[in-house]
Amino acid sequence: MRTTGLTVGLVLATLFAGGLAAQDVPLRLDGRVSPEVQRAVRRIAADAAARDLPVDPLVQKAIEGAAKGVPAERVIAAVRALAARLGEAREAVRDAGVAAPSGHLVEGGADALNAGLSGRQVADLVRASQPPYDAALTLQVAATLAALGVPTGQAFQLVQGMISAGRSPSDLLGLPGQVQAGVARGATPAQAAAGLARAAGGAPPGRLPDWVPPGQRKPRNPHKP
């Protein structure tokens, strides 16, 4: 009897685990946003949760808007637009073969779409981001580059090139700052990105010129038996 009770309890807990985040929404919004925004965001979040989309970015966006004193209707519109982008991003990420993407990854995809990258580019970057690269961070970096004014195709190629050249995740994260520094020195965002792409073409510091990224086959040495 005790076993049955435990089983039922665990199964029920599993079933409802996915809905907990949506239930947290009023708690998180309470006192942070106006009642009008709270009502609207609860509806949007419930709909998002039903579609298996992450709810946290929606709550964050509502809180951000309210903290900045943005009018309620504008906050609601932004949250609604974000929910739509999260849905598109989830599809793009699934196209990359990730059947059950994390909320963080979907959010990164939404950032990239918002910055102008296409769904196909999002999927390609997710495919390219095998460990140690975090696909969500890859997408966020590409999004930030595009937001800085780097043409989206160039931002996509720069990030993809850094990964295929085996540059570290830290190098990847540093790209927006590098572009910003280039712009401060008088380059256009495109020129700054092109310079970084050229620099990424060589071997990383401390590596031999014939170094290849982990997982790739080194060319056969004809002098070795």
Binding site: T3, L10, I63, A147
Partner: protein
């Protein structure tokens, strides 16, 4: 002393050639090599029979220690026969419970930021790094930084003035990843960090972006 010998001298040392078979110009090198190897190649040392006894006595003493006997008893494999008499439905219930528990654990392991002030969202939380925020705001009465890392709360991360120069600063521990933020001057005026990249915030304004790399990470 030489650190490397000619290939023919190595063959001499390997016993494949004799000294006489070496070319005359290599004979001196070969003789030197043989002399050095000969000095190291001593006759076998005969051990005293008493040494065997002393070693074995030490081993027996060690093996006979009570702690070692207990450890051996605990560590020795034994055949154990376990007979269970169960109803089939209890097996299925147990299996389901285990699967549900596993699903719950995996669900908890997924990155799901929790509510509350100071929540660090939008980032892989593998590591935290101290990040210094600096703003030049002469005439400001108070300055704070709010962003995705603190739920946009403009009260919990105030900057402090560095002297009377108008420079405000604070240091926060942020998780590795990319975060959006803005400075809040005098509790109402939101401004971007002039020293950082900025992106559209969805409300027609801009957010600054900070990329936090793992300690030891390097950039181009």
């Amino acid at each position: 002393m030489k650190t490397g010998y000619h290939a023919l001298v190595k063959r001499l040392l390997d016993g494949e050639l004799t000294l006489a078979e070496l070319p005359p110009e290599l004979r001196a090198e070969g003789e030197e090599a043989l002399r050095l190897v000969g000095a190291a190649d001593r006759a076998p040392v005969a051990l005293s029979p008493a040494l065997d006894e002393r070693v074995m006595a030490a081993v027996r003493r060690h093996a006979g220690a009570p702690a070692n006997r207990v450890w051996r008893w605990l560590n020795t494999p034994r055949d154990v026969e376990l007979r269970l008499r169960v109803r089939p439905w209890t097996v299925w219930a147990g299996g389901l419970a285990a699967a549900a528990a596993l699903a719950l654990l995996l669900g908890r392991a997924a990155p799901a930021p929790q509510p509350g002030p100071g929540t660090q969202a939008r980032a892989g939380t593998r590591d935290s790094v101290l990040v210094r925020f600096v703003l030049y705001a002469p005439g400001a009465r108070r300055v704070a930084v709010a962003g995705t890392f603190n739920q946009w709360d403009r009260t919990i991360a105030p900057l402090v003035p560095a002297g009377t120069s108008g420079v405000w600063t604070t240091t926060l521990a942020l998780p590795v990843g990319q975060h959006q933020y803005a400075f809040v001057v005098d509790g109402a005026r939101w401004i971007v960090d002039p020293a950082a990249p900025a992106v559209d915030d969805g409300f027609g304004r801009r957010n600054s972006v900070v990329a936090v790399s793992a300690p030891g990470g390097h950039t181009l």
